[in-house]
Amino acid sequence: MSWISWMLPPGASTFAGDIDRIYYVILVITGIAFVVVEVGLVWFLIKYRARPGRTVIYTHGNNTAEVIWTSITAVTVVILGLMSAGIWNRIKGRDSVPANAMAIRVNVKQFEWNFVYPGPDGRFDTPDDFTRRNQLHLPVNQAVVVELMSEDVIHSFNIPAFRIKQDAVPGMHIRAWFQPTVTGEYELGCAELCGLGHYRMRAVVTVHSLEEYQRWLGEQSPTVASK
């Protein structure tokens, strides 16, 4: 019943859990604030509606109340901020890319994703590199770092199941990392308006077990035309 659900769809990467946890913490805190304020509002509207003979409480305010509700709000948001900062640094910080991350180049353009693999020699710009269009194959439990390069406009590399999103900006080489934890098929969808084909800029992400991934790798050959 996703139309009323506040639950997130299942995550399938290492930091999905961290991100989802922040979400649920914020959900609970804002949920409490929501209930307190809205119930308070409705209660006041009912309790203090005009009735014959009613007199108002003539007051201009209360400094103590101001201090209390300001402090609570400020402390709460500061805590939420601190919680987020650590996770942000681990995901997108300067030294966040794991040392063992496997690199894949992503050449992005209107309206397709071209994934360049370094091939068996593990190095780019060698004859055994190969490219797959709109298909990203990955081994499970292996950190991946994508190197995003756009040829034309800004696109956004977005795999909701992995909770990863990173804009690809022409003129910049941007790296983003993630580590899938569950085998299966997922979708990658461009998340920045990039022209009339933006809606169909989709790629399929297949996470294999290690054996299957090796088998798939072996099937790719430098001489096979990009598909």
């Binding site: 409480i57 003539y58 007051t59 509700w69 939420l80 942000w88 406009v153 910049m172």
Partner: protein, 588 residues
């Protein structure tokens, strides 16, 4: 060498009005007429923006199905009455553009800034009435240019209301050439109109307050319009600069935002959002101010925490300048910068929270009258809270990774701009209509419009939170392209149908607005028993507003003090008795 004004006899102004029809109603320098001109213009653009949204919603609810009336559209926009992807991108762009720049902003700033400022501070008009007229008559061609974009070859701008480069900078990427240039040009002209307006508002509030109208006796509507005008003054020029650079990239071969030769696409985002974030506070602060006026009036007691409210308005205005990067967390900007923007963004929720608590405090212990303006003002509080709370999610950069560019953002922005600003606007129009037109709007139609709008509005926008949480991206012409969005088709259809009903409900407002102009009950000078200065002059006020300049003796919002026979004390009512002690623990 400022001279302090000695107490003087109130100036007696001759109120002879011998202007021609043209000078009185078309090329008028009277702030009240200009305010009404902005009102009529903005309501037309609100309608246009709504129609564009209905077309978007048709495509999202019934992707690829022929749209009723679609046959009227040219082949460049719809094929066989089915909306084309390129036209969808324009729809998305132009809905946002018209709503932000030609509906909400002029409704709040052009209409109520113009109408209320002189009246509520006791001035005969703005400081620069002819400049005021220029402001309006610059906005008109800006609007016409923006409409013209639909009729040029290549169609209208299609890079989103945010116009990100390089998509917006090179016609090859969208197929749109003249349309995008018209978009830039129109907004540059509108920017000039707004800046000149801001000069007027700021000068007027500083220099033209009537004797006794000290800064801390100004109503919150004026405080918020004043701070908003400062934001307009300082933010719009940034946009103008950015648009000029974009226009040059499009037409002169410059490379500000195009990466070949060293241009930087992210520079556009920095410039746009440095303007854009203050802009969204421009779109909410006047609404907050007017809601304060209306809630205090409706609850029949002073606003709770007036000084805190002023402080909150100033804080929002100030902090609004240092949060812009939260629109750019995923942009490729240095992540450390992202952390600093997270801090400022979390902090800016504090003054908004202060305001919400103070509105609740105002209702507490009141004697609440559910007039139509009061209904809208209370709905504002309820909806703004939702919009504000949803903002907390996106203030966290890692969580924003998931939420960015999804419908969760669309839900957030509509809760603050529609649930917030537009409800406040409906309430404010109803509240000040009698002063503007000398007639009351129909309460029955008003209440019916309110309830239907409230219900359908929530049915449209609340489920968008869910869409976003399931990963539904923004600006997607056909969601069924993605497997993970296919299950959301039913929800999209539900939203679409609710949207049609929401749009249809606005007919009630239209009928009420136009009908009351001719057939509404004639309004007395102070139909809401309010304390503001505008209610001490006839409805509508004459040119020059008062025969005798008002003299102010009291703070605003003196309801329920017991010092008068009625339950309110107009700001200009001279009393011989000193203030009575408050009946509950109170502090200013």
């Amino acid at each position: 060498m400022a001279t302090i004004a000695p107490p003087v006899e109130p100036a007696v102004h001759a109120l002879v009005d011998d202007r021609t029809f043209l000078r009185k109603y078309i090329f008028s320098t009277d702030h009240k007429i200009i305010g009404i001109q902005f009102l009529l213009m903005s309501l037309i653009f609100l309608l246009i923006g709504g129609i564009l949204a209905m077309m978007m919603r048709w495509q999202l609810g019934f992707p690829g199905r022929p749209m009723p009336g679609g046959g009227l559209l040219p082949e460049t926009m719809a094929s066989g009455a089915v909306i084309l992807p390129e036209f969808y991108a324009s729809l998305v762009t132009m809905h946002g553009t018209f709503m932000v720049f030609f509906a909400i902003m002029p409704l709040l700033v052009g209409v109520f800034g113009n109408y209320l400022i002189p009246l509520k501070i006791g001035a005969p008009d703005m400081a620069f009435p002819r400049l005021n007229m220029a402001s309006f008559w610059l906005a008109v061609p800006a609007g016409l240019l923006m409409i013209a974009g639909f009729f040029v070859e290549g169609g209208h701008a299609a890079a989103g209301w945010t116009g990100y480069a390089p998509l917006s900078a090179n016609p090859e990427y969208t197929g749109v050439s003249a349309g995008q240039q018209l978009w830039c040009l129109s907004l540059i002209i509108l920017g000039l109109s707004s800046i000149l307006g801001a000069v007027n508002y700021i000068s007027t509030v500083i220099n033209l307050r009537a004797p006794g109208m000290t800064w801390f006796r100004m109503p919150l509507s004026i405080w918020s319009l004043f701070i908003t005008a400062i934001l307009v003054l300082l933010a719009m020029p940034i946009l103008s600069g950015a648009l000029i650079m974009l226009l040059f990239d499009q037409s002169l071969g410059t490379h500000f935002f195009l990466p070949a030769d060293g241009g930087q696409p992210i520079l556009w985002q920095h410039l746009f959002w440095f303007f854009g974030h203050p802009e969204v506070y421009i779109l909410i602060l006047p609404a907050m101010g007017m809601v304060s006026d209306i809630i205090s009036n409706g609850a029949r007691k002073p606003i709770f925490g007036y000084h805190s409210m002023v402080f909150a308005i100033m804080s929002i205005g100030f902090l609004g300048w240092v949060v812009w990067g939260h629109h750019m967390f995923q942009s490729g900007m240095n992540p450390t910068l992202g952390t600093t923007f997270m801090v400022s963004t979390m902090l800016i929720s504090v003054p908004s929270a202060i305001k919400v608590f103070n509105w609740l405090g105002t209702l507490w212990g009141g004697s609440i009258k559910f007039t139509v303006p009061m209904l809208h003002a209370c709905a504002f509080v309820a909806m703004f809270v939702i919009g504000g709370l949803s903002g907390v999610f996106m203030a966290s950069p890692p969580l924003d990774m998931y939420i960015h560019d999804t419908y969760f953002i669309v839900a957030h922005l509509h809760y603050v701009l529609f649930g917030g600003s537009l409800f406040a606007i409906f309430g404010a129009i109803t509240f000040w209509y009698p002063k503007m037109f000398g007639r009351m709007m129909s309460p029955r139609l008003g209440k019916l419009h309110f309830f239907l709008t409230f219900v359908f509005y929530n049915l449209v926008f609340f489920p968008m939170h869910q869409l976003g949480l399931q990963g539904h991206m923004r600006r997607i012409y056909d969601p069924s392209t993605y497997e993970f969005m296919k299950p959301l088709a039913g929800l999209n259809r539900f939203i679409t149908i609710s949207a049609f009903l929401l749009f249809a409900s606005q007919l009630l407002f239209l009928v009420n607005f136009i009908g009351s102009w001719f057939r509404g009950r004639k309004a007395e000078p102070n139909p809401w028993d309010d304390t503001g200065l505008e209610w001490t002059t006839p409805s509508p006020p004459p040119h020059g507003n008062w025969a005798v300049t008002p003299r102010v003796y009291h703070p605003p919002y003196e309801f329920g003090s017991g010092r008068t026979a009625e339950d309110f004390l107009p700001q200009d009512r001279k009393l011989d008795t000193p203030p009575a002690p408050a009946r509950a623990p109170a502090s200013r």
